[in-house]
């Protein structure tokens, strides 16, 4: 009886069990140390409040800029026919695989006030510098987050049946109307998923931010940076902040489960 059916053999089952434990143990470890009784007061600590406020603000700006520039970029990649398109796509995807610290260093060499590729020019023209400012955080977060939006939206655009756009044109809709009233609604699921992914990535950004924008409480110290900083000195605060990030991650995971796992589930039930 044991060998019948289509169950999983013993050895892979055991190895899989180890892997599951590997993912579960850190979570349990974190949750065990959460100061549940005084969560509210730990979140009232100035460092925690500043970090959460800055994180929310910067990640939302970063999501906004990712959508503002990322959707047109995805459109160009999906619809445009130009030489070097695959090169441009590789360039856009690079921040997804590039170590964030390297990304931060690269941003520094482009945007820092002294010797930056364009940073000096920006400073001369606008008397403004990205480094060590909130906008530096936004820049670093957008650099690592926008690729997620671009890739997701491009895939969405490619899966749109373009005959719907033809139908809209035949009904008298100009290109902008077609885009606004037909294309965007039809890619809405991809757009929402892409924006959520970009937001999550921006919220968790550490390496590029600390390298490029610095680690100044109230100005550039976002929640992940605060967690890292406070782990030695104010562990309960660090753990509580970690819990906040974990909760947000779970919310995003649950709300996107259909987008990510819908395909898998279909195959399973088929």
């Amino acid at each position: 009886m044991k060998r019948r059916g289509r169950g999983v053999p013993l050895v892979p089952a055991l190895l899989a069990g180890v892997a599951i434990a590997f993912f579960a143990l850190p979570l349990i470890g974190l949750l065990r140390r959460v100061p549940w009784s005084n969560l509210g007061s730990t979140l009232q600590e100035p460092a925690a409040r500043d970090a959460i406020r800055l994180s929310v603000e910067c990640s939302l700006w970063s999501t906004f800029f990712s959508v503002l520039f990322g959707v047109p970029l995805a459109y160009v990649l999906a619809r445009g026919k130009f030489p070097g398109r695959s090169f441009v796509r590789a360039l856009v995807i690079l921040p997804m695989v590039l170590p964030p610290v390297v990304g931060g260093a690269a941003l520094l060499f482009a945007f820092q006030r002294n010797n930056g590729l364009v940073g000096g020019l920006i400073y001369d023209l606008f008397d403004f510098q990205f480094t060590f400012s909130k906008w530096g955080v936004v820049l670093a977060e957008t650099f690592v987050a926008m690729p997620f939006l671009v890739i997701t939206v491009e895939a969405g655009l490619r899966s749109v049946d373009r005959r719907y756009e033809d139908a809209a044109a035949s009904l008298g809709a100009g290109r902008w109307t077609v885009f606004r009233r037909v294309t965007v609604p039809m890619i809405a699921p991809a757009l929402i998923a892409g924006a959520a992914l970009a937001w999550a990535r921006a919220l968790g950004e550490f390496g590029a931010t600390i390298t490029f924008a610095g680690n100044i409480q109230g100005r550039t110290q976002t929640t992940p940076l605060a967690v890292y900083n406070l782990l030695e000195t104010q562990q309960p605060v660090a753990i509580t902040l970690s819990l906040v990030l974990l909760a947000i991650s779970i919310v995003i995971l649950v709300s996107l489960r259909d987008h990510w796992f819908g395909g898998l589930r279909d195959r399973e039930s088929a």
Partner: protein, 350 residues
């Protein structure tokens, strides 16, 4: 003349070169097999595929003429299109779908909705205005697509396989409804289909398209009774032969002769209805008529009728009753004699 088109498009392996005219109040059906270029022809009229050569004029407005450097974009053509699969916008309600064209042309929201609602009432779907298109049946979707195209009062309406997405059961009824609705639209209509029945039911005139070229054009009756290509002959289910006539006798290109009642001369088509062909196991004697020997090479059931393919010097299809099949023992490989009266042979010049 509402539509005057001389369409030359090269797209991949398709080389399309078609002249097409349609008058106000006339429905022209473009009939042809898959890949003949029907949809490309329609898309070029709608402005979705630019011409490589030729010109398209609608109501004296030049829409496309590469030689003159004129090209009017689809949204400015005023051409209504009912697409294959209807392509109703899935994210908009039925009412918003119908109002879309008016809204795109700058009609105010309330006015657009009012006129859309009016059209929905006209196609009998006033009560489904708030529904999403996917909740409608295929026939209802077709009517919404028609309302969406006609509410903008186009100068020309194009229909791409308007009945292909429907199941056989509802087709007959919807074909009739579609004909009635189209009759209310005063402009020219061009319909693309690969179904002879749709073309016959909806169109005044047929244009048969094969391999990007017009194979035959004419009134529906003319085309179906005097087919000029194998494709049309197969569609209407008639035997089509070619030969050279001299008097009452026609020497067929493939060998053998046909006797006809009226004398003719020159290169001709010979059309014989399968129901005019009789089959016999022994060589029949008697009155002067066409007698050919052959061997049964296929038996098809078509409703209550049976079609027998006879292979011989003169290959021919006969339509017989189930009783005859049993009495004569007609099955594959049986040797038979086929006879056709001279008066049942239709002959016309190539």
């Amino acid at each position: 003349m509402t539509l005057h088109a001389d369409v030359g498009v090269r797209l991949g392996r398709l080389d399309l070169s078609v002249a097409l005219d349609a008058a106000d109040g006339e429905t022209v059906a473009v009939l042809g097999p898959n890949g003949a270029g029907k949809s490309t022809l329609l898309r070029s009229l709608a402005g979705l595929v630019p011409l490589d050569e030729g010109s398209i004029t609608v109501d004296d407005t030049l829409m496309d003429d590469p030689a003159a450097g004129t090209f009017v974009v689809p949204e400015r053509r005023g051409v209504g299109v009912v697409f294959q699969d209807y392509l109703l916008f899935p994210h908009l309600s039925v009412l918003e779908n119908v109002a879309f064209g008016l809204r795109s042309r700058g009609v105010a929201r309330t006015e657009a909705r009012r006129r859309a609602q009016e059209w929905l009432a006209r196609v009998g779907l006033a009560d489904r205005a708030g529904a999403k298109p996917r909740l409608l049946s295929g026939g209802q979707q077709q009517r919404v697509a028609l309302a969406r195209a006609l509410v903008t009062e186009p100068r020309l309406v194009l229909l791409d396989e308007p009945l292909a997405a429907l199941d056989v059961g509802t087709r007959t009824e919807l074909r009739r409804d579609l004909r009635t609705l189209l009759a209310t639209f005063g402009g020219a209509r061009v319909l693309v289909t690969h179904e002879l029945l749709d073309a016959v039911a909806l169109a005044d005139r047929l244009v048969v398209l094969e391999d990007g070229r017009v194979a035959q054009t004419g009134a529906v009756h003319e085309v179906t009774t005097r087919p000029r290509s194998r494709y049309v002959a197969d569609l209407v289910g008639v035997n089509l032969l070619r030969g050279v006539a001299h008097g009452h006798e026609i020497t067929l290109d493939g060998g053998g002769t046909v006797v006809t009642a009226d004398p003719v001369a020159g290169d001709v088509y010979v059309a014989i209805q399968p129901s005019s062909v009789s089959l016999h196991r022994a060589r029949p004697e008697g009155s002067p008529r066409n007698v050919w020997s052959g061997r049964v090479r296929g038996v098809d059931l078509l409703g209550d009728r049976i079609r027998i393919h006879v292979d011989g010097v003169v290959p021919i299809v006969a339509e017989v009753t189930a009783g005859a099949v049993g009495d004569l023992g007609l099955h594959d490989g049986v040797d038979v004699w086929a006879t056709v009266k001279a008066t049942d042979v239709s002959v016309y010049a190539i």
